[in-house]
Symmetry: D3
Amino acid sequence: MADLVTFGEAMIRLSPPNFARVEQAHSLDLNAGGGEFNVAVAAARCGVPSAWVSRLTDNPLGKIIVNNARAQGVDTSSVVWTKGDRVGLYFLEFGASPRASSVIYDRAGSAISKIKPSEVDWKKVFKGAKWFHTSGITPALSASALETTSAALKAAKEAGCTTSYDLNYRSKLWTEDQAQAAQEPMMQFVDVLMTTEEDTKKVFKIKGGAAGDQKKIDVAAYKSVAEQLAAKFKFKTVIITLREDVSVLKNTWAAICLTGGKFYETPKHSIEIIDRVGGGDSLSGGYIAAKLDGKDDDYAIKFAVAFSALQHSFPGDYSWATKAEAEKLMAGGETRINR
Amino acid sequence: MADLVTFGEAMIRLSPPNFARVEQAHSLDLNAGGGEFNVAVAAARCGVPSAWVSRLTDNPLGKIIVNNARAQGVDTSSVVWTKGDRVGLYFLEFGASPRASSVIYDRAGSAISKIKPSEVDWKKVFKGAKWFHTSGITPALSASALETTSAALKAAKEAGCTTSYDLNYRSKLWTEDQAQAAQEPMMQFVDVLMTTEEDTKKVFKIKGGAAGDQKKIDVAAYKSVAEQLAAKFKFKTVIITLREDVSVLKNTWAAICLTGGKFYETPKHSIEIIDRVGGGDSLSGGYIAAKLDGKDDDYAIKFAVAFSALQHSFPGDYSWATKAEAEKLMAGGETRINR
Amino acid sequence: MADLVTFGEAMIRLSPPNFARVEQAHSLDLNAGGGEFNVAVAAARCGVPSAWVSRLTDNPLGKIIVNNARAQGVDTSSVVWTKGDRVGLYFLEFGASPRASSVIYDRAGSAISKIKPSEVDWKKVFKGAKWFHTSGITPALSASALETTSAALKAAKEAGCTTSYDLNYRSKLWTEDQAQAAQEPMMQFVDVLMTTEEDTKKVFKIKGGAAGDQKKIDVAAYKSVAEQLAAKFKFKTVIITLREDVSVLKNTWAAICLTGGKFYETPKHSIEIIDRVGGGDSLSGGYIAAKLDGKDDDYAIKFAVAFSALQHSFPGDYSWATKAEAEKLMAGGETRINR
Amino acid sequence: MADLVTFGEAMIRLSPPNFARVEQAHSLDLNAGGGEFNVAVAAARCGVPSAWVSRLTDNPLGKIIVNNARAQGVDTSSVVWTKGDRVGLYFLEFGASPRASSVIYDRAGSAISKIKPSEVDWKKVFKGAKWFHTSGITPALSASALETTSAALKAAKEAGCTTSYDLNYRSKLWTEDQAQAAQEPMMQFVDVLMTTEEDTKKVFKIKGGAAGDQKKIDVAAYKSVAEQLAAKFKFKTVIITLREDVSVLKNTWAAICLTGGKFYETPKHSIEIIDRVGGGDSLSGGYIAAKLDGKDDDYAIKFAVAFSALQHSFPGDYSWATKAEAEKLMAGGETRINR
Amino acid sequence: MADLVTFGEAMIRLSPPNFARVEQAHSLDLNAGGGEFNVAVAAARCGVPSAWVSRLTDNPLGKIIVNNARAQGVDTSSVVWTKGDRVGLYFLEFGASPRASSVIYDRAGSAISKIKPSEVDWKKVFKGAKWFHTSGITPALSASALETTSAALKAAKEAGCTTSYDLNYRSKLWTEDQAQAAQEPMMQFVDVLMTTEEDTKKVFKIKGGAAGDQKKIDVAAYKSVAEQLAAKFKFKTVIITLREDVSVLKNTWAAICLTGGKFYETPKHSIEIIDRVGGGDSLSGGYIAAKLDGKDDDYAIKFAVAFSALQHSFPGDYSWATKAEAEKLMAGGETRINR
Amino acid sequence: MADLVTFGEAMIRLSPPNFARVEQAHSLDLNAGGGEFNVAVAAARCGVPSAWVSRLTDNPLGKIIVNNARAQGVDTSSVVWTKGDRVGLYFLEFGASPRASSVIYDRAGSAISKIKPSEVDWKKVFKGAKWFHTSGITPALSASALETTSAALKAAKEAGCTTSYDLNYRSKLWTEDQAQAAQEPMMQFVDVLMTTEEDTKKVFKIKGGAAGDQKKIDVAAYKSVAEQLAAKFKFKTVIITLREDVSVLKNTWAAICLTGGKFYETPKHSIEIIDRVGGGDSLSGGYIAAKLDGKDDDYAIKFAVAFSALQHSFPGDYSWATKAEAEKLMAGGETRINR
C-alpha cells in the first residue's frame, strides 16, 4: 500500500550518445521515464512508499518500463496491461550552445492514450494513500485520458488525499486554448500546483510582468503569478520553478513556493547539465516526500530544489540521488572530489 | 534515371547488441532497411542504377532512411515526403539456439501505410526503367497501400518493365486469406515470383508434398511448388529460396529457379549467421542485377545465391557485398584469411 | 508475502566484452547474480511471488543487486543491510575452445559471509511461504553462514515449506571433506536435491560408474547416482542436470528427475552458448515454479530444462525467458526468425 | 547537374572517444571529411545541388568517403578512382583546457596528391554549374595537385562560375613562402576569398595591426586586412572569420564580409564546443548556398555564421544542421529544450 | 637501475562512463593507478628511469597494474608477488555541479596492506637510486605497511636519496590523530613535502589563517602554512598545491614552493576537468623529474604545475602528457586546434 | 639483456567491431602487432627475457606500439626512432562463412621500410642473446629492409645465437619469384624454419603431393615437404603448421616438427575462432620459449601448438595465454567453466 500514487504515461526514451543528432545515430541509448513516473521514483528514493498507475502494452518495451519502476521500489501492481496499442517512444537529442536539446515524440496511439475511466478502480488504488500526483501531460493525450485524469483527481480527493498537479504544457499535444478548456475545470480538485511562469501564461493566461528572459529571472514577476494562481483556483500551494538558461550546458535552478499566504524562496543552484529532462519531476517528488515526512514548508521547497538540482547531473529522466546527498547540498554542498 | 525501381516500406531497425533481449537493452543499434529498399541497394551495389519509391515522414528518422539509400547510390528523388504520420520501427532480437531471433513491429500508422495512389506519378517514375520490384509486404500495410501497389505493377507493365514480386507473407500484417484475396488479382502483372515453399502454401494454398522440416530440405517438393505456381499464374520465372536452419547461428542457403520450363539449382552454401535479415532481398537484388546485366539463367540464380549468402555475414538488413566477392564465392570461395 | 523464499549471496559480476581476457580489459560489463538470487528471479518470471534473503553492504553496489532483484519483481524486504563489510565481486572471462570460460572470485569478507543466525527472523520470513531454496554455496561462505543456512532449513521445514537444495560444490570456497561434513547433517531438512554427477561424487562420495566424460553422457550411471542419493538421504526428489560440453560455445542440456521412485528424463537441447552461468539456477527456479503451479513431475522437469536451456542464450546470470517461450520450446521449438 | 562544384581532398578521420589521447586509444571513432567536401555537404543540406570532385583509391576507405558524400545528397560521379595510392587519414585528439585539440596527419601519398590535370574533364564537370569552390589545402598537396587546382579555377571562370577560395594555410604541408608563391598567381581567378587574419598574414604577409590575441578580437584590424586583400587581388568579396578561443571548450564565432566596398558584420555566437573541425567549411557552404539562393549580402553572411555556429555542436567534420535551424538561430535562437 | 623509486599501492579503478552513477552502471571503464604509481609514471614520461615498488596478488588484476606500469616504461622488477590476498579496487563516479565526483574504496585486505618490512630488500632497491617518493596513503593501509614505509624512508636516506612525501590524508583509512601520530616521527627522513593546506591542518594541526574557501584561494595563508611546516619538520622544500573548485568541471590549478627560504609561485592554469584524479601525483612526478634533470627551483615548480595541469585533461589516474607539451604550456600555451 | 631478440615491423591494426565490414565502420578497434613483435611477446609471456628491434616514427602511433611491447615485458630499447616516415597500419575485417576474414594493408612508406643496415648495432643487440627470430615479411618491405635482415641473421650467427625464420609469404608485398630470389641466400644463416606447406610451395617451389585442401590435411605430404626443406637448406629444424579451415569460425590446429632426422607430430586442437591473426607467431614464440627452457623436441612442439591454440581465443595479434594454461591444455584441457 503506497502513500503516494501517481498517474500518467511513461515512454521509452532513445537518445544518440555523445551529442550526435538523431540523424547521425548508429546507436541509441535507452531509458524509461515520464512525468508522473519520475515523480514516483523521486519520492520512492526519498523513502516514500510509492505507486505508479498507467496503461501499457504487454511487450518487452512495456516490461522495460515496469522493470525500471520496480527497480526503484515503485509499486506497479495497478498498471493496466493490454495486448494491443503500443508503447510511446521519444527521441532525445542532446544539444550544446547554440543548439538546444530537442525532443521528437513518437507517442501517438500509445496504450495510455486509449485508457478508459472504467479500467482503473481508483477506490482500490487510493486505499491507504495520502497523496495523488498527476500532470497536464496525461489529459493532453486523448479525450479518454482527460476523462480518466479527471476521475482520478476526484477520487483522490474523495479518498482524502492531498493532490498535486504539474501544469507541464506540451504544445505538441494540444493548443493553449484546448489546454485551458480541459484543465480549468479540474483545478478544483488540486491542492498543490507545480508550474513555470511560461506554462501559466500559455494555459491560464496569467502572467507576472514583462518576464520571459530565459537568461535572467525576475522573481517579483514570478511571485505575482503565484499569487494570481492561488487566488483564482484556491490552490493551497503554488510552486514555480525558476530556471535560467545561461547556456545549453549551464543553467541555474531555484524555486518559489507560495503556501499559507507566505512565500518561500530557495537558493539558486549552479548546474552543469548532464541531462536536464525530468528536473521538474524530481522537484515535485522531492517536495511531496518532504511534506509526507512532516517537514515544514521552508525545508520542503529547499529540499525539493536541492534534490532536483542533483538530478540534472545523472543520465536519464528520473532521479538517482539520495536524500542524504540532497541534505548535504542544502547544507552548502561540496564540489571537491569525495574520497 | 534508374534501370530498376522498387517500391515499399523501409523502417528504422533497433536491435540490442550482444544477443541481449530487448527487455534487457540499455542501448539499441540503429539500422535502416525494408524488403524493397534492400533489393534496390543490392542491385545498386552490383552496378545497376536503382531507385526506391516510398512515402516518409520528414523528420530525422525519415532522413536516416533516405541517407542510407543515397549512401549506397540509390536514387530517392521519387520518395513522397509528409509532415504527418510516422516512420515505422521494428525491434530485432538476435537469438542463439534454442532461442530463435525475433522481431517486434512498431509500424502501425507509418507514412507509407497512408499512401494514396495519386501521390506517385508512376509514369514519370518508370520513364526509362527496365525492371520494377515490389513485395507482399507493401499491399499488406493498408487498403490504400494495396491499391497503390496494384497501380504500380500495372503502370510498370505498361511502361515495358519486367516485374518481380517477392511473396513475403507477414502474419502480423494480415491473415492468409486476406493475403490471397488481395494478391492473386495482381499476379497477372508479375513476371518473376520470388518466394519460399512455406509462404506459397500459406498464401496460395499450393504445396509440394509433406515438406516443412526446417532442418532438411526436400528439393523435389519444392520443384513441384514452382511448377504449380508457374502453371497457375503464368509467371515467366519462379524462384524458391531453400534455407535449412541447422541451428539459429548455422544455416544453409540455396535456391531453385524455374524459367522457360527449365529448372536451375544452385550449390548449397554453409552460413555462419551474423545477421540473417534481408537474405532473400539480397537474392532478389542480385538476381535482378545479373539479368539486367544480360547474364544467363544458370549464372543469374547462382550469382544471386552467392551474393545473398555473403549478406548473412554483415550486420544490417541490406547487403555490403560486392559483385567481385560474389563471383569469387561462385568460383569456390575461400575461408582462409585474405592477406 | 512470497510463495518462494531463497537465501544466499549475490555478487556483482564484472566481465570483459568480446571474449577479451580480464588482463586485456579496458571496460567490464556489469551484471548482478548469485545462485539463490537467480532461482528467485527465474521463479518470479514464471509468475511465482518470490523473495530473496541475504545480507548486503549499503552502498551503490549493494543497491545494484537489490535493484536488479526488484526489477524482476523479487521481494527484497528481508535483506539485512549493513554499513560495514563489502559486496562480493566476481570476474568472469568468456572463453572459446580450447579456452574454457573462467571465474575469479573476489568475495572474501562479503556482508553475507558475516551474517549471524540472529540477524534473520526466519519465522517472519516464512510466514505464508510454500517453498524454501538454498544451495551449497551459502554454507561454504563462513561458519556463521553455515549456521544460518542450517537454521533457515530447519525453520522452513517447521513452517511447512517444501525445501530444495542445489549442491553446487565450489572448490575455491572449501574442500570436499569440509563440504561433506558440513552438509550431510543438513540433508535431513531437504526435500529436493538438485545436483550434478560430478558434485555428488566430490561431496557425498557417491558415483555412478566410470562416468566423467564431459562430451558424452552415460544416463545409466546418472540414474544410479540419483538412486543412491535418494536412498541415503531420504530425498523426495533428486534432479541431476546433464550437460555435454561439445565445445566451449556448444553444449547440450538435459536432466533426469527421480521422484516417487520413478525416473523422468527430458529431451536433450542443443545450445549455442551466449552465457552459461546460472543455467542450473534457472532450472531450479523453473522446476519450483512448475511444482508450485501444480504441474505433474514429467511436465515440471521438462519445463525446467526448456526454461533453463533458453537462459544460456541471454547475457547475465539470471533468466530473461518467459513461461510462454519455455512452453513453446517444450512443444518443439523453432529456430527460424520469428516475425 | 550540380550548381556548386567543389574540389579537394577528403580523408578518413580517426579520433579517440571521451577525450582520450591517441596514445591511450583502444578504439577510434571514424568519420570522413575534408575542406571542400565539407563545403559541398553544407551547401547540399541548404538545398543546393552540389558535386564534389576528387581522386580516391578504390578500397573500402575510399568507398566510405563517397558513401558519406552521397548520404548527404552530394554528387560524386566525377570522382576519379584509382586502384593505386592510398586514402589519406588523420588522427584527431579532442582537448580540454589547457590542452588544445590536435591533429596528426597521415595523408602523404594519398590518391589526390597524385592527381594529374588531365584526369579531370573540367569542361564537363562545370557544365551547368554556377559556383566553384576550392581551398589552399588542395594545391599544397603536390605540384600536380597545384597544377590541377589552377586548371580548375581557370576552367571555372571560363565556364562562367563564381569562384571562391578558402585560404586555409596548413603549415604541415608547405612553408609560408611556398604557399605565397603558389597561390598568388591563382588569385586572379578568385571572386570570393574566405580566410582568417592569421592565415592572411602568413600567406600574403598582410596584417591588420597588433592583432593575434586568440581570446579577444580587434574587429578594426580585421577590417583593414579585408580591405588590403580586396585592393591587392581584386576580390569581389572577402570574408574573415572571427573566432575567440575563450577556452578549448568555449569559443565565440562571428565573421565580417567586405563586398561591393561595404562591410557586413555578424553577431557573435557563444559556442559550447563539441567538435570544432570544419567550422569554417560550413560557413563557406552556408554562404554559397545563401548567395545561390539570391539572398542579399547581409543575410548571406549572417546565415553563414549561424549555420556554421551550429556545426560546432555536432560530432564530425561536416554539418548536420538544417537551413531552418540556422534561420531560427539568426532570429535569436533558443537554449531551452525543445519539446 | 632506476633514478627514482616510489613505493605504495596501486588499485584497479572502475568508473561508469558518461557521468552515470555507480548505481546506474551497466559497464565500468577500467584503469589502474595509485598515488606513488602515478608519480613514477609521470617522472618516467619526463625521461627519468623510474621504478615502482609494491605488493600485488598474482592474478589478472595484479597483472593489469604491472602491465600499465611497464607500458609507461616503469620498472616493476621489485614488486613483491603473492598468491594470496587481493588487489585493491576503487569505484570512481564522475560528477557535475552540484554533484561532486566521488570514490568508493574496496581496498581492504589488499596485498600491500599485508606487506611485511622483511619482504623488500631496500638496500638492493635503492642501489644507484637518487630519489625516493612515497605518500601518506601507504602507512595508512596497515600497521605493517606503516612499518615498511618507515623502513623505506630510512633506507632511502641511508642510500643517499632525496626523499619526498605527499601528505595525502585519506579520512576513510584512518583518523586525523592516527595520521599525526604515525607520520610525525617519519618526517625526519623527508626532504620534500608535497601537500595541501587542508591536509596540513588535519594531520599536523598547522593552519594559515581563515582559509578554506574552495572557490577562492588566499595565497598569504598558504605561505604561512609552508613556513610553519618547514620550521617544524626541517623540510628542505615544501610544496603546496592550490586548487580552486570554480565548479565540478572547472578548476584552477597552481602551486607555491618554499625552498632555501625562498618562495616560488606559479601562474594559475584554468582547467576544464576531464579527470582530476592524480593531479597532485603528476605534479610531484613532474617536480622530481625537473629536479633530477638539474632544473632550478623556479623552473621546477612551474614545470610541475604545467605538466600536471595537462593531466586533468586525460582520462585515467596517471599522466599521458609529454615534457614538450608541458614546456609549451609554460611558454604560454595555445587553445586553438593544433594542425 | 634479452635471451631472445626478434626483428621486424609492427603495425597499428584497426578492425570494425561485431563483424562489420570496414566500409560499414563507425568505429575501429585498435590493436598493435606484427609477426616478430608477436613472437617476442609470446616468448616473454612464457618467461623468456625478450627484445624486439624495429624502426618507428616518433608519434603517438609509434608510442602505442612500444607501450604494447613494454606492457608485456618486452625490451624495446633497441628500437630506432625517427621523426619522419610513418607507422604502418592495417585494417582487419572479421568474416564468417562464407565470407573469409580479410586484411587491407596501409603500410607503404613505414619507418621500418626505410631502415638502413647501419642504423642497428647488431653486435650490441646480440650481446648475451641466445636466439634470434625474424620472418619473411621483413625483407619483403624494401631493399634496405632485406639488406638489414640479412645483416641481422649473419650477425646473430656470429654472436652464437640459434636463428629461426618464419617464411610468412605475403603476396601483397612481393612476387613469389622475388621472395625466392631474396630469401634463398639467407637460409644458410637459419637454424629453424617455421612455415606452411602453402608458403613453401610458393616461395621455394617445394611441394609434398596433391595437397591444398583447406578443409582436410594430408600429413604425409607435409612430412615430405619438411624433409625436402631440411635436405635443401640444411635446417636443423623444420616446423610446419597444419590448419584446417572447417569454416571461417571453426578451425583445427596442429603442427609437425622435423628435427634431428625425427618427426614429432602434435594432437589436433579444435578451435572456435575469436581472432586467428598471429596464431603462427604464438607457435613460434612458444616453441622458442620451450627450447630456451631446455625442453625436449616432443614437448616443445606440443607446448607450442597448445600455447598458440589458446591464442586464437583472444582478441588481438599477440598472445595473452600463460604457460600454465598451455600446459593444462597439453594435459587434456577442459571446456567446462572454471570456477
